[in-house]
C-alpha cells in the first residue's frame, strides 16, 4: 500500500528501525515486523501533527480503531497511541504515536476527521486527564459524574 510513502511525506527525519532501548524514541517511521508486534508501520510524530496524520490516513481509506493513552511517569510524558487499520482489502495496520508533556497534556482532537474518535478520546481524557483540544464533549463517560481522579495515571492512589 501507498501509506508508507504518504506517511514519509510528513517531512520527518526517517529513524531506522532500532532495537528497543531505554532512551526515548525519536520521531519518525519504523517498519515493524507484523508477526512480532501485530502492526506493520509504527509512526511517532509531534502532537500538533496528529490531525494531519489522521487526514492522510483517512484519505487512504483507513479506519481509526482505537485511541490509547499511556502514562510514562518517569519521563513525565503521556503517550497517545492511535491504531489505524485498513479494511478495504489486505490488512494493514498503522500505529501513530505522539508524546505530550505530562504537566500540559494538550493534544488536538481528531474527531473532526473520524467521528469514532469522539468516544475514544473522551475515555482517554477521563482515564488519564489528557486534554483533547477542540473536543466537543469532554465530560465524564464511564466513570461517575463526580469523579475527580484519573484512575489510569501511574501516581493514582485509590
Amino acid at each position: 500500500m501507498e501509506v508508507q510513502a504518504e506517511g514519509a511525506g510528513e517531512d520527518k527525519a526517517k529513524a531506522k528501525a532500532k532495537k528497543e532501548e531505554d532512551v526515548p524514541r525519536k520521531n519518525g517511521l519504523i517498519e515493524t515486523e507484523y508477526a512480532k508486534r501485530g502492526t506493520h508501520l509504527d509512526v511517532q510524530i509531534n502532537p500538533d501533527q496528529v490531525v494531519k496524520a489522521a487526514e492522510i490516513l483517512d484519505g487512504e481509506g483507513m479506519t481509526l480503531e482505537m485511541v490509547t493513552g499511556v502514562d510514562w511517569l518517569k519521563e513525565k510524558q503521556f503517550e497517545v497511541i492511535y491504531d489505524y487499520s485498513y479494511s478495504g482489502g489486505q490488512l494493514f495496520r498503522v500505529v501513530v504515536r505522539a508524546r505530550v508533556d505530562r504537566d500540559h497534556p494538550d493534544i488536538p482532537t481528531v474527531c473532526r476527521v473520524y467521528g469514532g474518535a469522539n468516544w475514544h478520546e473522551r475515555e482517554t481524557w477521563e482515564m488519564l486527564g489528557i486534554n483533547f483540544v477542540g473536543h466537543p464533549q469532554l465530560e465524564h463517560f464511564l466513570l461517575p459524574e463526580d469523579a475527580d481522579f484519573y484512575p489510569l495515571r501511574k501516581d493514582f492512589k485509590p
Binding site: 528497543e20 508486534r37 480503531e65 499511556v70 490488512l91 500505529v95 473520524y114 466513570l143 489510569l152
Partner: protein, 372 residues
C-alpha cells in the same frame, strides 16, 4: 420524565430510555431529544456497568488477568480468550500445538453460534415476537452444555492458556458437537420460515437504520454491522490467525446497509460456523494441547504488542504495553460494540423512536463489553 425545552422553531422534549429497559439489552441509557415522534438527538450514556478492566490488567500478573477475559462480552467470551492468548503468545513467541489451535477454533465457533442465537432470539423479542426466543434458547442451551463439559463454566469461560488450552476435549464432546451440528443445520431454514419472511418483521427491518460503509469506517464499526454494509471484512480472513487459513468458509456480506442486512449476516454466519466446526473436527490432529516450557512467571519483553480477533460482534483487539515486568504497564481493550454503538447518535437522527430501538437491536450491543 420529560422536560420541555423551548426553541424558536419547534418544541422538543427530552426522554430517557434506560438504564433499565429491555430494548437496551442491559444497562445502557439513551438520552433522547424528541421532536414529536422523531428523534432529534439520541445520546447513549455508558458506564453503568464499568468495572475498569484496563486497570485490572495493570495491577495483576499476566496469568491473573485470565478470568477477566470471560467477563467482558459474556456471550462470546471464547473469542476474547483467543485474543488474550494470541497477544501474549505473540509477545513471548510461544508456539501453540496444532491440536490446541483446532480446539480453540471449535470452541470459539460454537460460542459464536451461541451468541448469534441469543442475538437472534432477543432481537425478535425486542420487536414483539416471543416464540423464536424459545427455539433459540433450546439450541443455545445445548451449546452451553457442550462448552460447560470442557470448560467448566457456562458463560464466563477461562479456558485458554498461554500455549494452549486448559484441558483436552473428549469423545463425548466430539460426538455431542457432531450431533448438535446435525440437529442444528435444518433449524436455520426453519427460523427463516418462522421469522425472516414475516411481513411485520420485514416492514420493521427493511430500509430501517441505514449505516453506510463510509460511516462504519469513520466510526470503526466492524463485524456484522460492517458486513451488512457491503464490506467484505472479517479478521478471520483479512488478518488470519490460528488455523482459520486452513479452513474453508465464506464471509456473508449484504449490501443493503439496513437492519435486515445485519440480521441476515448473523443468520448466515451461523451456517458458516457450522461448516468451520465440522471441518475442524474432521481435521483435528492428535497431540498435546499445551506447549512445553511455558514459564509460570511470564515476563514479556519491553515494547507494545497488538492482537486482533473476530469476536461475534466485530473486531476485538488488545494492545499491551509491557515494561518487561510480570505485570502489564498498560492494557488496552478495544471492544467492538463500543465502536458500533458510537455511530448510533449520528445514524438515528430523524428516525422514528420505534425504528431507533429496532436499529439499536440490530447493532446487537452487549453492555459489559462496551463499558469494560
Amino acid at each position: 420524565m420529560s422536560s420541555l425545552a423551548q426553541s424558536q422553531l419547534r418544541e422538543t422534549f427530552e426522554l430517557n430510555i434506560g438504564p433499565q429497559h429491555p430494548a437496551t439489552h442491559g444497562v445502557l441509557r439513551i438520552k433522547v431529544v424528541m421532536d414529536g415522534e422523531y428523534i432529534d438527538r439520541a445520546e447513549p450514556i455508558l458506564g453503568y456497568i464499568h468495572r475498569m478492566h484496563e486497570k485490572m490488567g495493570e495491577n495483576r500478573t499476566w496469568n491473573q488477568f485470565w478470568p477477566n477475559m470471560g467477563r467482558l462480552d459474556y456471550l462470546s467470551a471464547m473469542a476474547y480468550n483467543h485474543c488474550y492468548a494470541g497477544l501474549v503468545e505473540r509477545a513471548m513467541e510461544i508456539v501453540v500445538p496444532e491440536r490446541a489451535e483446532y480446539i480453540r477454533v471449535i470452541t470459539a465457533e460454537l460460542n459464536r453460534i451461541q451468541s448469534h442465537l441469543l442475538g437472534f432470539g432477543a432481537y425478535i423479542m425486542d420487536l414483539g415476537g416471543f416464540t423464536p426466543l424459545m427455539y433459540a434458547m433450546d439450541e443455545r442451551e445445548q451449546i452451553l452444555d457442550l462448552l460447560e463439559s470442557v470448560t467448566g463454566s457456562r458463560l464466563t469461560y477461562c479456558y485458554f492458556r498461554f500455549g494452549g488450552v486448559y484441558n483436552d476435549i473428549d469423545d463425548d464432546f466430539i460426538t455431542g458437537t457432531r450431533a448438535f451440528i446435525k440437529r442444528f443445520r435444518p433449524q436455520i431454514p426453519m427460523y427463516h420460515k418462522l421469522v425472516t419472511g414475516n411481513a411485520i418483521l420485514m416492514d420493521r427491518l427493511i430500509g430501517v437504520g441505514p449505516v453506510s460503509a463510509d460511516m462504519c469506517r469513520k466510526y470503526g464499526a466492524t463485524g456484522p454491522v460492517l458486513r451488512g454494509s457491503g464490506v467484505n471484512y472479517d479478521i478471520r480472513r483479512n488478518e488470519p490467525y490460528s488455523v482459520y487459513p486452513e479452513l474453508d468458509f465464506d464471509i456473508p456480506v449484504y449490501k443493503e446497509c439496513d437492519s435486515m442486512a445485519r440480521y441476515m449476516v448473523r443468520m448466515d454466519e451461523m451456517v458458516q460456523s457450522c461448516r468451520i466446526i465440522e471441518q475442524a473436527l474432521n481435521k483435528l490432529p492428535e497431540g498435546p494441547v499445551m506447549a512445553e516450557k511455558v514459564p509460570k512467571a511470564l515476563k514479556p519483553p519491553k515494547g507494545d504488542f497488538h492482537y486482533a480477533v473476530e469476536a461475534a460482534r466485530g473486531t476485538f483487539s488488545m494492545r499491551a504495553v509491557s515494561d518487561g515486568t510480570n505485570t502489564a504497564y498498560r492494557m488496552r481493550l478495544r471492544s467492538p460494540t463500543y465502536s458500533n454503538v458510537s455511530l448510533f447518535e449520528e445514524a438515528s437522527r430523524g428516525m422514528l423512536l420505534s425504528d431507533a430501538l429496532a436499529f439499536l437491536g440490530s447493532l446487537d450491543p452487549v453492555i459489559p463489553e462496551m463499558d469494560r
